[in-house]
Structures are given as structure tokens and as C-alpha cells.
Symmetry: C2
Amino acid sequence: MKFHFISHQRLFQVIYSYDIVTGVDLMKSVGIIAEYNPFHNGHLYHLHKSKEVSGAGVVICVMSGNFLQRGEPALISKWYRTRMALEAGSDIVVELPYAFAVQKAEIFAFGAVYLLNALKCDSICFGSESGEVQPFFNTLDYLNKHSETYNDHIKRYVKQGVSYPRALALAYEAVKDGLRNGVDLSKPNNILGYQYIRAAHEINSHIHFFTVKRNKAGHHDQTFHHEKMASATSIRKSLSENPNLDHIAAYVPESTLSALASYVNRYKKLHDWEDYWPYLQYRLLTMSDDELQQVYDAEEGLPYRLKKTAQNAKSFHSFMESAKTKRYTWTRLQRICVHILTNTPKNMMIPAAKKPQYIRLLGMSSAGRDYLNKRKKELELPLISTVSSYPDEWLMLDRKSSQVYAHVLPDPEKSSLVSLEFAQPPIMIGNRP
Amino acid sequence: MKFHFISHQRLFQVIYSYDIVTGVDLMKSVGIIAEYNPFHNGHLYHLHKSKEVSGAGVVICVMSGNFLQRGEPALISKWYRTRMALEAGSDIVVELPYAFAVQKAEIFAFGAVYLLNALKCDSICFGSESGEVQPFFNTLDYLNKHSETYNDHIKRYVKQGVSYPRALALAYEAVKDGLRNGVDLSKPNNILGYQYIRAAHEINSHIHFFTVKRNKAGHHDQTFHHEKMASATSIRKSLSENPNLDHIAAYVPESTLSALASYVNRYKKLHDWEDYWPYLQYRLLTMSDDELQQVYDAEEGLPYRLKKTAQNAKSFHSFMESAKTKRYTWTRLQRICVHILTNTPKNMMIPAAKKPQYIRLLGMSSAGRDYLNKRKKELELPLISTVSSYPDEWLMLDRKSSQVYAHVLPDPEKSSLVSLEFAQPPIMIGNRP
């Protein structure tokens, strides 16, 4: 594999100068919830817009670890994604624990908002199709008032066999007649935004919310449409078809190109579900039905279906194609597959996903360090910078998922990535250009 | 990989002509308990000596499946080993179920003798260092009479932390003063022979026993000493160092050379523990201590040791080197590793290893078929020739272990080997030369 770097004028440089010129409040922080798989120009736009609209000088990013919300391994490790985020302008990167990251929107959002609140973040800025924050509050208010009818509808739809996200959408359609200026919850970023606001309400947080309207690249677009903007999905698709970074260079900052290139140079690959398929298949074929039933989010009847499908499938993709149903969407099924792969049972996941117990610091800029130094006494959870002294069950899920994540690498790259889980101090970057 | 066949005068041909000349009783059968990993000249010698000393015309072989008594994957599948056994002179090959095969000598022997007894076999002929059968009976008799003291000694030694086989040997040493003409139980083949006779006694079988003195190649010899005889261990070692079959051609019949060559041609490899290491390591790193504690034969304290060792080991061999102790011998530990790999818990293995419930026919010669046709009404267990109609827990262990065994092959070879487990009728060979 060979990488070519094209140096060209980037949004990155244009926008970054803005911060330097204007000067911003370095004790004011804005939170971003992200996966950066990989970090692209849309993320960069969102990052800088977040500072602009919030007036914050410090960006705190809550980022999924090695496995992501859609039930996928990240292209590159959380460490390289942390560096990518820092180099592109984040000041503090903390890990959203596995117990919240590999979850449906509701729990994912709860974990992330809980952490930002515990970090005493002043505001959260999320991307949305809506672009206005008031409709989210209107919807929350309305649904809280009509919660009984709304929940009845959800239950009814789930009973009919549709997926949970689809049931939410249908229930919302069914009750929203009296709602004025609500948000369109059929759009994926609006859904997440709504869940962030709902989570803040649930924990009585007074955190401020801002939203930035998503630019033209749709969340799940698989192909490139825009000159400089492309969805992470389309970027991953391009990478899986052709590892030459030239093809994505227009859509990502140089820091992303260099992170991807040095990851491949260091660890010999970008991670893909297909790499894990032999292990998932092996596990499915050797698990008892009882054990499979204990896996988090696996409901009755699923074990038999998955085991039978695994028997003959030749790839992860063909396995998923055969296994998915109306009830088990691709995304939910992928998450269950991650839980099977990491052997994460209900009795470990459910208590772990109640609320975060720690803040795991993955990296910081010098501004981020100054911010944390000044704020550390106010933090509502312990701030963990190395894991070895915290042997509790929460970290175990993260450690185990990192073991599994690294397992597809050749040795000594595998051991070296695993050892970071215990030995890597938070990544520090100095002043950015 | 390239194979060269050297045609040369073989023991095989010399001895085989003997049977044709003398003529033997085709309704009289002799049982052999074997693993044939791979079938070599020592096995051929034993096979023909067994017919000679027993006067039987039919050789019934109970053979381990894809995983063996020492806790290893067989070089080639049970189907190819069955063909090897048939072509070299066996008439009926039945599978020793996983629940008995991957076990210490006592249970291995019990399962095999139970099956031969259920098959109405007239005699069993085993190889031994002793070469005489009477000392085995003397020892059995003596130890039965002194069972209390003997068992107390075993318990005491086990408590002192030595391995079970070592405790048996030490206890025997401690009690055998009054025993005349007993057998030397420090020799590996004598130990197995003693367990066969003991098992027959336990089930009140009147099966006859013969023994053939082992030739010069020691059971565990790793190098070649003799012109035509070599241990299976030394043959495997030679194959793992150099896949060129020329190096082992002097020690095995041509049928073995051709089975090994066509296996590699068909499935692209000879199976080795190192192929399974990534799966074992993955499993160890994702199992909870509780789950590991449930694995058959894993005692308290072992899970922690195994998981910790797996963390840093770079190969199966180095893992084993670090994990073995005085109490957990290499062989016992390897068996536990097979049970971990196949996810075989105590609660499945212990009931399955009580007594065999079926006889699984892997292959037969025309003489074997005639024999079974005439004897089938007397058999004490159902004779299974295809597994699909027997969905019970016993077969499940065998099926699962075959899935795991095939999992290291590339596709489509993997699926093709797995499908044999359900689709392969017993292998038939016609008249031999």
C-alpha cells in the first residue's frame, strides 16, 4: 500500500486562523459528541462553528472508543483518532465507555451528555438537519406532556415487529398533531440531538445547547457529492474499495490523512468488520444457545437464527445480509455482533450502562490541560489518565474490547496496541499551527 | 509444497500376504484402540500381529476423532485417517467420541473398551512395553485387593501438588511390594493397556486380551532411530519441520503418504496447534473467570493463570511453556486448551463421559461390512452411519469439535470439511491388494 499526500488549501487552515485572530474565552468550554471515523471536513466545520456559536475557547470531545455506535470497529484505534481530533482543534478528548458507545441512540446520548456535564462543560453543540435548537426543546416538552400516549404507541409498534427506531418514529408521527415548531425526528442527526437534550433534562443539567446545521453531505451518503464535504460513510466506503488516500484527500484535513497513513504504516491495516468475521463465526459456532441468550440486547429466538446463519456464511457482509430482519435492523444486529465478539453479557452491560463512573482522558492540548488544571476540583467523576490503578468492572469492558480490537493485527503490532490500553498516558499536543 | 513418493518394499506388503495365504476366521474380530496420527509402520506391525495372535479375520478399530487424547488437533481429518486405517488393513473404523477421546488415559480407555464390547468384538490387542498380558491381570487383581491403601496414596500425592499420572505411578510404587509378576506402570503403553483391562473388568466384559510387544521406537521419541520404525511423535516433528514427505517415507506405509499428500492438496494444510492459537488466545482473553472455571477439567486458580499467560504469549508453544506446572502437565493442559477452544463445559462433558450411547461408524472394508451385517442385531448400542438423524447432546460435542477443527482452513475448504460431518456416509473400500 502506498500513500500520496496532496498538499492543498484546507478548510482547516482557513478556519483555524479565525480562533487565533479573534481570541476566545479559554475558561469557557463547548462539548462535542463524536466518533471521528475518520475526522473529516464536516467535523472540522462543526468543531469551529461550535466555538463560534458558543464563544468557548476550549473544545471538549466525548469520543467512542475502538468500537462505535453503529456496531463497527473504528478504522483506526482510539489513540490515533484522539490525535486526529487534537490536531484538528479539539482540546480535550475523553472516551465514551463501551457500555454507552455500542448502544442505541438513547443510551449513547445519555452517556455522552452525562460525561460532558460531569466535566462542567458550559455547552454542547451538535450537528443537526434542523439547525435550530428551539424545536428540540418544543418536542421534548410536548412528548413529556404526552408521554403516556407516546409510550403506548411505541410499545404497540414494537409488538408489531418493527425495529425500535422505526417504532419511535411512528409513535412520534401518531402523537405530534398538536405540536408546533417541533423537530423532524425522521432525520438521523435530529434524533441524536433530541436524545442529547432529553438526557440533559433527565439528569437536571443546566448545560446550554447549540446546534449547527449539517451541510450537504447526508449522514449515511455512500458516495461523494460535494467538493469538500463528504460523509464518514462515503469516506470509509472509498477507503475499503481503494486504500489510496488520494481519493479521500479532498474531504479530510491533512491531520486525518497523516493519521491514517501512519496507522497503516505502524499497524499494517485499517480495521474492518471482515477482519473480525473468523472470530465472530468461531464464537457463534461454539457458543451454546444459553450463552448466546445472555449476550446483551439479544432477545429470544435470535441465537438460533444467528448460529444457523453463521454456519454457511462466507463473509461478515453475507452473514449480515442473511441475518437482518425487520425487527433487527442492520445497526442493531451489528451492535449485537460486537457484544458477541467481545463476550459482553447482559449482566455486565446493564449495570455498566446505568451511568458513567469515571472520565477517561485520552488526550489534550495545552489549552485543554490548563482548563483541566483549573477545573479539576469541580469535576463530578474521577478523571482517569491511566487505567492500571482502576481495576473495576467498568474499565474491564473497555479493556476487553481493546483486546479484541487489536486481535486482528499481526504480532508484534497486536501486543503493542494492547499494551497501550495499560501504558499510554493521555496524548498531549502542544500549540497548533 | 511438493511431495515425492518413493516406491519401496514395505512391511505392509510383506505382512499383508501372510493373511491371504493363511486364511482367517472372518467372523472373529480383534479390536484395536488407536489415533493413527499418522498411521505408521509400527501401527501396521501391530495391526497384523493382532490378527496373528488373536486368529481374527476382522480388525475393528476405535479411533479418536479430530482432537486427540494428548489434547492436539489431528494432522488430518478423521475421514482421511479412516481411509488410511482401512487401506492399511482395518476392516471397521468407529469414532471414539470427543467426550472420551480428549481425556486422561482412564476415561479414554473406558470409552474405547466400552465401544469394542458393544460391538461384540472377540478380543482386544494392544501394544505394550511388557509384551505379556498376564502381568496386567496380576496388577489389576492386586490393586483391587489393595484399593484402599492405593487410593489413599493417590490422594496424598495429588494433594502434594504432583500431576495425576505421577500420583498414580508413585502410589503404585508405594503399594506394590507384595505383587509378583506385575506390570511396569511407568511405561506409557503399559499404562494404557492396564486401563483397557481395568475398564473391561469394570463393565464385566469377557472380552479377551492380547498384547504385542512394542518394537524399538519409543512412544514419545522425537527423532528417528530405527530403519523402518519411528514413533508418531517423531514423524509429526519431522513433518512440522519439513513438509516434504520424503523424510518420513521410510516409516509409513504408502497409503499414509498418499493420504497426507491428498489432504494437503485438498485442504491446503496439515493441522497444527499453532493454527488454532489465535482462536484460543481470543477466547481466553474474552472469557470471564467464571466461564473459564466452568471449562471441563479446569480447577480453581487455573483461569487466572491461563488468562494472564495468554495476554503476552506470542505462540501456542510459548503459551504452553509458560503455563505448565508440576500439577498441570503439558498433556493435561493441552486437553484443557482443547476444551476451552471448543467451549466444552463440565456440565456437558461429565454426563457425556459416563458411557458411550452410540457407535459412530466412520468406515469399513467389504469384510467389515459383511461382519457388521451378520452381527448388527447383537450390537448393544445404536450404530450411526450419518449423524443428521441423531440430534442428541453426545453428537453435539463431536459436531462442535469438527466445526472448530475445520475453522482454520481457508474457504471453501472449511465449509466443505464441516459439511462432511453431516453428509459423509461411512467410507467404503473394496478388496485390498
